[in-house]
Symmetry: D2
Subunit: 443 residues, 4 copies
C-alpha cells in the first residue's frame, strides 16, 4: 500500500492558536457525563457558523441508554451554569435532561466516502489542582467548576476536532465525500457511544477515526497506530433489598441485605479465572444499612467486569449474574441489577493500521511511530468501531503522543497542547488518503 506525501496543512497551522484558546475555554468550563451543556453549546455554535449541518438532543442520543443519568437537580444546575457562562440557549435546549453531544455533517463538493471522526467531550469528577506548578492554575484557565475538571484531555480532543472541522469547512471546495463529526458525551462512564450508535449515527460511515491524547511516558510528536488490548467492560449497579428488624430482639425476622452483598462480593471475586485470557472483576463501592441495632435491609454496590475479549467479558457477566442471584436466594432478598456501562473490546482494521503507519511516517510533525501498544483499559469508542466494521466499514483508533503531566484522572493532569495540531494534521491526512482515488479502490 502506497500513500501520498503530506505536508503541514496550512489551515490547521493557521488556526492552531485559536484551537489552543478553545481548549483553554473548555478547560475552564468542565462538566461530566450527561451534563456537558457548555461543550455542547460551544461546539454546536462553531460547527453551525462553519456551515455544518448540526444535530442535537434526542435526535442523536437514545433515551434508553442514558445510564447513570444524574439527578434532575444536577441536570438543571449544570444547564443553567452553561447559560450563565455564555452559552446560547438555542444550542443546548435540545440537550436538556442529559441529551448532550453534537453531530456535525459537511458534504464535500466532490463525491466520495463518508468519513467519521469521534471526539469525547465529558470532564472528570475531580477538583482541579491549584498549585503554581500546574499550568492551568498558573495561567488562569483552571476549572471554574469545583468537583469537575478535564483531567483526561477531552478538552484537547474537542479542540482537535474543531480544528479539523474548521479545516474541512474552509476547504469544502476540495473536500471529497462527506465528513461527519461525532462529539460524544459520556465516555468516562462508557455509555455515550452506545446512546449514539443506537440512533444509527455511525451506520453510514465508510471510515471511522478516533483517538486519545497521551500515552504514559510519551512525548508530543509520537503516535501509536496499533492499539490492542482494549478490554471489554460491563458495569452494573446492584441493590439488594431485604427486611430490617431489631438485631437484639428478633434477628430471625430480618432479611440481611448486607450479608447477602458480602456473600455475593466474596464469590464474585472467586469466579474462576478464564483460561483464554485476562478477566477482571471489581466491586468499587458498597453502602449498606442505617444504624447499629437493625439488620441492614438495603445494600447497594457498584461492580464491573472486564475481559481480554468480548467472550471473556461475557463469561464474567454471566457468572456474575449467577453469583448475584445465588446470594439473593441465600438471604431471601430482592435483587435489582441496573446496567451502568458497556464497552466492548475492539481493534482497528488491519488495512487502516497499515495505512496509518505509512501516513504517519511521512508527516513532518510525527517524530516516532510506535507500532504496537497495549491499552489495558476500556473505551467505549469500541461500540462505534464494532458497528462500523460489522457493516463493512474500516476503523482506526490511535494514541496521540503527549507528555502526561500528573497522570490521567489526577488533579494535576495536563497535556502539551501541540498534540491538538498534530492530531488534527494526522486525521486530515488520513481523510485525504482514504478519499484519494488510488487508495479507495484498494481498500
Amino acid at each position: 500500500m502506497e500513500c501520498t506525501n503530506h505536508k503541514p496543512e496550512e489551515t490547521i497551522m493557521a488556526h492552531f492558536s485559536d484551537a489552543v484558546q478553545w481548549r483553554r475555554d473548555l478547560h475552564k468550563h468542565p462538566q461530566p457525563a450527561w451534563l456537558e451543556f457548555y461543550a455542547t453549546g460551544f461546539v454546536a455554535k462553531k460547527l453551525a457558523e462553519w456551515g455544518y449541518e448540526v444535530k442535537l438532543g434526542q435526535d442523536i442520543i437514545d433515551e434508553r441508554k442514558l445510564l447513570l443519568l444524574p439527578s434532575a437537580g444536577k441536570l438543571q444546575t449544570e444547564y443553567e451554569r452553561a447559560l450563565q457562562d455564555g452559552i446560547k440557549e438555542e444550542y443546548i435546549a435540545p440537550a436538556k435532561g442529559g441529551f448532550t453531544g453534537v453531530i456535525g455533517i459537511l458534504k464535500g463538493s466532490q463525491p466520495g466516502p463518508t468519513v467519521g471522526f469521534r471526539f469525547d467531550i465529558d470532564s472528570n469528577e475531580v477538583t482541579e489542582g491549584a498549585s503554581d506548578s500546574h499550568r492551568p492554575a498558573k495561567e488562569g484557565f483552571a476549572s471554574q467548576n469545583p468537583g469537575y475538571a478535564h483531567m483526561c484531555g477531552h478538552d484537547a480532543h474537542i479542540a482537535m476536532g474543531l480544528l479539523l472541522a474548521l479545516h474541512f469547512g474552509e476547504n469544502r471546495d476540495k473536500l471529497k465525500g462527506t465528513v461527519k463529526f461525532i462529539f460524544q458525551p459520556n465516555e468516562e462512564n462508557l455509555s455515550g457511544a452506545s446512546a449514539m450508535v443506537e440512533k444509527g449515527l455511525v451506520d453510514d460511515l465508510d471510515y471511522l477515526f478516533g483517538g486519545h491524547v497521551g500515552i504514559s511516558g510519551n512525548e508530543a510528536g509520537k503516535i501509536s497506530i496499533d492499539v490492542h488490548s482494549i478490554l471489554a467492560l460491563s458495569r452494573f449497579e446492584i441493590t439488594y433489598t431485604g427486611r430490617s428488624t431489631h438485631a437484639g430482639v428478633s434477628p430471625h425476622e430480618g432479611k440481611n441485605a448486607l450479608l447477602g452483598a458480602c456473600a455475593a462480593i466474596t464469590n464474585l471475586y472467586a469466579i474462576a479465572r478464564h483460561g483464554g485470557g485476562a478477566s477482571r472483576i471489581n466491586v468499587g463501592t458498597l453502602e449498606a444499612g442505617s444504624t447499629w441495632n437493625a439488620i441492614p435491609d438495603r445494600a447497594y454496590f457498584r461492580m464491573e467486569t472486564r475481559g481480554a475479549n468480548n467472550t471473556i467479558n461475557g463469561y464474567m457477566v454471566q457468572k456474575s449474574l449467577e453469583v448475584l442471584q445465588g446470594a439473593a436466594k441465600m438471604y431471601d432478598l430482592d435483587l435489582e441489577i441496573k446496567p451502568a456501562a458497556n464497552a466492548i473490546s475492539g481493534r482497528s482494521s488491519p488495512e487502516m493500521i497499515a495505512l496509518g503507519m505509512k501516513v504517519a511516517e511521512k508527516l513532518p510533525s510525527v517524530k516516532q511511530v510506535i507500532p504496537e501498544v497495549a491499552f489495558n483499559g476500556s473505551e467505549d469508542v469500541t461500540v462505534m468501531m464494532e458497528r462500523v466494521q460489522s457493516r463493512g466499514g474500516k476503523v482506526l483508533y490511535v494514541l496521540f503522543g503527549s507528555p502526561i503531566f500528573g497522570g490521567h484522572h489526577s488533579s494535576t493532569f495536563d497535556v502539551d497542547e501541540t498534540v491538538i495540531r498534530n492530531g488534527a494534521e494526522f486525521l486530515a491526512s488520513m481523510q485525504a488518503e482514504v478519499t484519494s482515488d488510488t487508495v479507495t479502490e484498494r481498500l
Copy 2:
C-alpha cells in the same frame, strides 16, 4: 393427686441377676443403627417365650424411613454375625435388610388402658476401651465387634425392658389393660422412632413411658422426672455436583462443587440467631474433589440443625434450604438434599410429671427426685411422644440415675447396673398407678 404406696416388686428383684446377665450378653454383641440383628433376635425370643405377641420386620418398620441405611454388604455381614453368635434365624429373618426392632404385646386379664414402654436397642460406632479400669474389659463382657460398642447404655435399656416385660408376663393374672413393649432400633441416628410411628404402632397407646440411663454426675437411686430442653433436630446429607475441568488449562469450564459447598457452609453458620430461643447448626463432615489439578466436581457433607422447639428448628431448616439452594445457583451446581434424621422437641405431660414425682418419692429404691433437668440434646422418642399426645394420650420421659463412667459415647462408658432394676421398678409402679381405678379416672 394421690398415689398408692409401692414396695419393691418381687418378680423384679427375683430376676435382677438374670437381667444383669442379659445386659452383659447384649454388651458383648453390639450392633449399630439398622443392624441390631442380635438384639432383635435376643429380645424377640424372650418375649415369645414369656407369652407376648411379637411383631417384627416390615410390620413395624416403614421402609421409607430407613434413613442412612447401611450398605447391602454391611447388612448381610451383621445379619450373618448374629446367626453365628447364636441367634435363631426365625427371629431375625423378618428384619433382614434393616427392618430391626421388636414389638411385644401382652393383654392383661382385666380391662384397662394400653400402656407403652419404649427402649432403644442400637449400639454406637465406637471401639470399646480395653484397659483393666474399664469393667466390661476386666470382667470379660466387652464388645466382640470391633468398631461397635454400647457406649450409651442402650444395653441396660434392653435389659430393663426385658426385666419389666418378664414382670408383667409372670403377673399376667393381675395385669390390668394391655402392655406394649417397643424395642426401637436406630435411636442414635434418630430415625427408628419415625419408622415405627409411621406404622401406627403408638396410635393405640393411652400412656407411653420412656427414659434413659445416666445423667452426668448422677448416681444410682436418683431419678429426674421433669426433663425439658430436648432439642428438635434435623439432619441432611448434602451433595453438590458440578463439572470437573483442568485447573490450569480451562478453569472457566468447570463448575466448582467445593466452592459451592464452602459458600453454603459459611452462610449456614451465619443464619441469624433466633430471638425466641436456642438454635444450632453444624456441618459435621465434608468430602470433596479427587485430585490436585482438577476443579472438584463433587462435594458431600453432613449437616444438622437444632432448635429449642420445633418452630425454631423449622426456621433453621427453612433458612438452611435457602442457603443451600443459593449456593447451588451461585456455582451452577446440582444439589441433592437427603433427609438423614428427624427428632422433634417434646415434653412429658404435666399430669404424668406430677404423678411420676409422687410415685418416685414413695419408692424405696429412689434416693432423690431431681425435679427439673435440661436435656440439651436430641432424642427421637419425642416423635412417639408427640403422636401419643396428639391423640389424647399421656407420656412421661425420665432419666434414671447412674454414675456415668467415661462419659456418653466415649470408649469407656459404663453404668451402675442397679439402674436396670431401679428403672424397671419405677416403670412397673407407673403402670400400676395409671391402671388403678382412682387415677385412671382423674387423668
Copy 3:
C-alpha cells in the same frame, strides 16, 4: 419484709400539671447523645432554683468516654440552638463540647443513706411524625428540631425526675439522708453511664433507682418490678485500610479493604452460638470504596455484640476480635477497632425487688404489679447498677406502665403522661421506705 402504707404525695399531685408542661417543652426541644444542651440547661436551672447543689461538665463526664462524639460543627450548632431556644449560657457553658448531663444533690435535714435516682435525657435521631393522629403534632408540642425527636420517652423521664426533685426540695425539712439526681446523657448510644461512673458519681450511693416508661401492651398504672434479660452489649466502629489500585491494569497491586470487610462480616455472623444462652451479632452499616474501577482501599462498618450475660457477650467480643484480625491478615489490611458503646447485663438486688413489690402493691396509683419481665434489649444503667452493687449498695430498675403509641423509636411514639406522676410517686415511696428506720436496718 414489711412496709408502711403510702398515700398519694401531695407535692407530687400539686405539681403534676407543671411536670406535663416541662415534658412538652422538652419534647419540643430534643437533642441526641452528647448534644443535650437544652435539657441540660433546663434541668440545671430548675435544680439550682430548688436548692440543689448542681454539678456539670467535666466534673461529671469523663472525656475518655465521649464515644461516638459528634463533629465539632454539630456540637457548636446544637449548643447555639439551645441558647437561641432560651437556655441561659451559665448552665450549659460547662457542657460545651459534649459534656452534657446534670447532677443534683440535696442533703436532708436528718441523717440517712444516700439515695440516687437516674434519668436519661437524650432524644433519638428520628424525625417526628406530623399527622393529627399523633398528639404532640396535634397539640403543638412536636419536635422543632428536624431529625431529632423524643421517641423513647426520655422527655417523660426528665419530667418525672424533676417532679421528684421538686418533691424533695419542698419537703427538705422531712428528708432523711441525701438524694442525688443523675440526669444522664447518651443512653441511646450506651456511653453516658460509663462516662459518669468513671467520675465516681455513684460510688457514694447506698441505693440507686432507675426505670423506663412503657412496656409493650402495657397501660398506665401497671408497674414491672423484676426486670431480667437485660442483654450485655458492645459496639465497635471498624475500619479496614488497604491500598487502592486500578482494577483493570494492576489488580494485584491492591489491598482490597472491601473484600476484607466481607470476609470479616460473613464470619462474624458465623461465630458459633453460645451453649449457655442467647448471643447476638450485627453489622448495622457498611461503607466502602469510592469509584467503579479502583480497588476499595477503605471499608468502615459498625458492629455490635450482645449476650444474655457478660460472659456470653465477652465471648462474642473475643471471637469477633479474632475474626476481625484474621480478615485483616487475609487481605494484608490495617485494622482500627474503636469502641463505641458498652452496656453490661444486670439485675436488681433481690431485696429491692421484694421491697418494690410491697411498696407498689400499697400505692393507690398502681393498678397491677407485673412480677417478672424480660427486657431483651440493652440499657447502660447496668453500668451504674454494677458499680453500686459491687460496693455493697442496693439497686432497683423498674418499668413504669404506659401504653406505647407507635412503638419505641418510631416516629409516632407517645406516652400517657400520667406515667410521670405514677413514677415519681413510686420513687418517692421507695426513698421513704429505704430511709425509714425499720427497713434500713433490715436490708
Copy 4:
C-alpha cells in the same frame, strides 16, 4: 547457524523393535511417584549391561525433597511387587523407601561437552481401560497393577531413553564428550526434578535435553521445538486443626476447622487476578470432620497455584499464605502447610531452539516442524532447565509428535510407538550436533 545432515541412525533402527518390547514391558508394570521400583530396576540393569556408570538411591535423590512420600506400607508393597515381577534386588535395594530413579553416565572416547538427557519414569494413578478398542488391552500388555497405569506416555519416554542409551553404548568409540542419562522419578507430582537437582546432578551439564510425547491432535513425525507457556506451579497440603465439641450442647467451646477451611478456600479463589499475566488457583480436594454432631476439629486440603511466570506464581503463593494464616487466626486454628510440589516456568535456550529447528528439518523421520506451541500446563523439567541455564548451560525441551489416543491421563491413553524411534533419532542428532567442532564453538 548451519548444521550437518543427519541420516537415520543405524543402531536406533536396529533396536527399535526391542524398544517397543521394553515399552510394553514397562507398560505392564506401572508404578507411580516414588514407587517406580520396577522401572528403576529395569533401567539400571540395562544401563549397567551397556557399560554405563549407574547411580542410584540416596546418591541421586535428596531425602528432604521426598514430598508426598507414600506410606511405609505402600513403599514396601510396591518394592516387593517389583521383586516378584522379576527385578533383581541389587538394582533396587538403594531405592528402598522411595529413592527411585537412575542416573547413567557414559564417557566417550573423545573429549567434548557433557550432554544430559532427562526422561521421567512414573505412572499415573489410574486404572487402565480394558476394552478391545484400547490396544494395550487388546494386545495383552495392559497394566497388571490395578489403580496404576502409564497414561501419560512415560513408558515411551523410558524406552526412548534406553534406545538412545544403547545407541551411545554401541557407538562409544565415536562418542565425543560425556552423555548423562537422567531417569527421573515423580514428574506427575512435580518433585522428582528438585530431588535430583538438589544432589547436584545437573551441575556438570553443558547441555540438557528433555521432551514429552504427544501433542493434542498431533501425529507421529511432527515435532514442536519452541515450547512456551510452561506454567510455574506450587502445591501444598494444608491441615487446619481446631477443637471438637458437641454441636448441640457447647458449640462455643469448639474451634471449627471446617469453617476455617471454608473461609480460606473462598478467599483463596478471590485472590486478585494478576495484571501481568495468567494466574491460577485450585483446591483439588478437601476432607473434614468425622461425625454429624461434633464441631469438625480437622480439615485437610490440597491446593495449587500457577503463574505464567515465576513472579506471578510467587505472588499467588504469597497471597495464599496470607489467606491461609488469616483463616487460622479467624477461627483460632493451628495451621500446617506442607509443600507438595514445585515447578517453575521455563523456556528453552534460544540458540538451542534455532539449532533444534535446523536439525529437525533435516531429519527424514520429521514430517513437520511446529515452530511455537503453548504448553499451558506444568512440568518439573523446568527446575533442571533453570539450574543448567543459571550455570551457563543450554537447554532444549521439545514435544515429540504422536496421536494421543484417549487423552492424557485418561484410562485409554496410548501412543503411536514410532515416536520412540523418532525421539531417539532427534536426540542423537542433537547430541552429535552440539559436540561437533563447528557448532560447539559457535554456541
